[in-house]
């Protein structure tokens, strides 16, 4: 894991059962140009695959796994929603 002292970084968030399974709710990750939502997942969780059906968002907007990130983006991973 990377410390928060990197100048270029991505904020990472996990929710609900997905937070339980990765064992934390937040992380920070050094930003490297060309990073995608999927590569950030593996940067943090190693070989563990992103659970099927998981949803992802950048800066509070749904996105796809191949979406490229920018410095200071907030990326989130969570299971299918169950509100209402």
């Amino acid at each position: 894991m990377f410390s928060a002292s990197f100048k270029m970084s991505i904020k990472v968030r996990f929710f609900a059962s997905l937070a339980d399974s990765v064992g934390r709710r937040e992380a920070e990750c050094a930003f490297v140009p060309g990073m995608t939502v999927e590569s950030v997942w593996h940067e943090i969780n190693g070989d563990a695959p992103l659970p099927g059906g998981a949803l992802v968002a950048i800066n509070h907007d749904y996105c796809t796994l191949d979406q490229a990130l920018n410095d200071k983006d907030e990326v989130a991973y969570f299971p299918p929603v169950t509100g209402g």
């Binding site: 299971p79 299918p80 209402g84």
Partner: protein, 156 residues
């Protein structure tokens, strides 16, 4: 247009009353109000449920509900729309969600209310964790946008 995420129990009829009072003279030209209230049931998926934890994504959830409301106002002829959603610790019988749509036309009120509710269930970032006698469990999936033509299972 009003969207509210609520960490305490809310009373749907009081929410509607407050909104209705704010309409004032506008109420004389509106004609149609459709509402939907979803409440916590004390039984789900074959087991009694004692309480529930409703998690959300502060920032994204609010923005998402605002977008659903704004989209509905573009798509249908609405005078106003109200969405209230509970988060945190919820008890059986408590209201979880309220969607209300005001329009001059009943078709617009009915259709927007249902569409917003279905869209909310399929896309708004909320997650339910149920507390049963056997321990806590995350609800894995919401019922899809169903029709009463498909007989829902008792555990829907």
């Amino acid at each position: 247009m009003s969207v509210r995420i609520c960490a305490e129990a809310f009373d749907p009829l009081l929410e509607l009353r407050a909104f209705q009072d704010d309409l004032g003279e506008r109420a004389r030209s509106i004609g149609a109000l459709a509402t939907f209230t979803g409440s916590m049931r004390d039984f789900n998926d074959g087991a009694p449920v004692e309480s529930m934890w409703l998690e959300h994504y502060p920032g994204m959830t609010d923005a998402h509900l605002e977008r659903l409301a704004a989209d509905a106002q573009r798509k249908w002829q609405l005078d106003d729309i109200l969405i209230v959603h509970r988060v945190g610790e919820v008890r059986p019988g408590d209201a979880i969600v309220l969607v209300a749509t005001w329009s001059a036309h009943r078709a617009h009120a009915f259709e927007s209310c249902r569409a917003v509710m279905e869209e909310l269930k399929s896309s708004a970032p909320f997650w339910k964790k149920e507390q049963t006698a056997q321990g806590a469990r995350w609800v894995e999936k919401n019922t899809p946008r169903d029709s009463a033509d498909f007989k829902p299972s008792p555990a829907e």
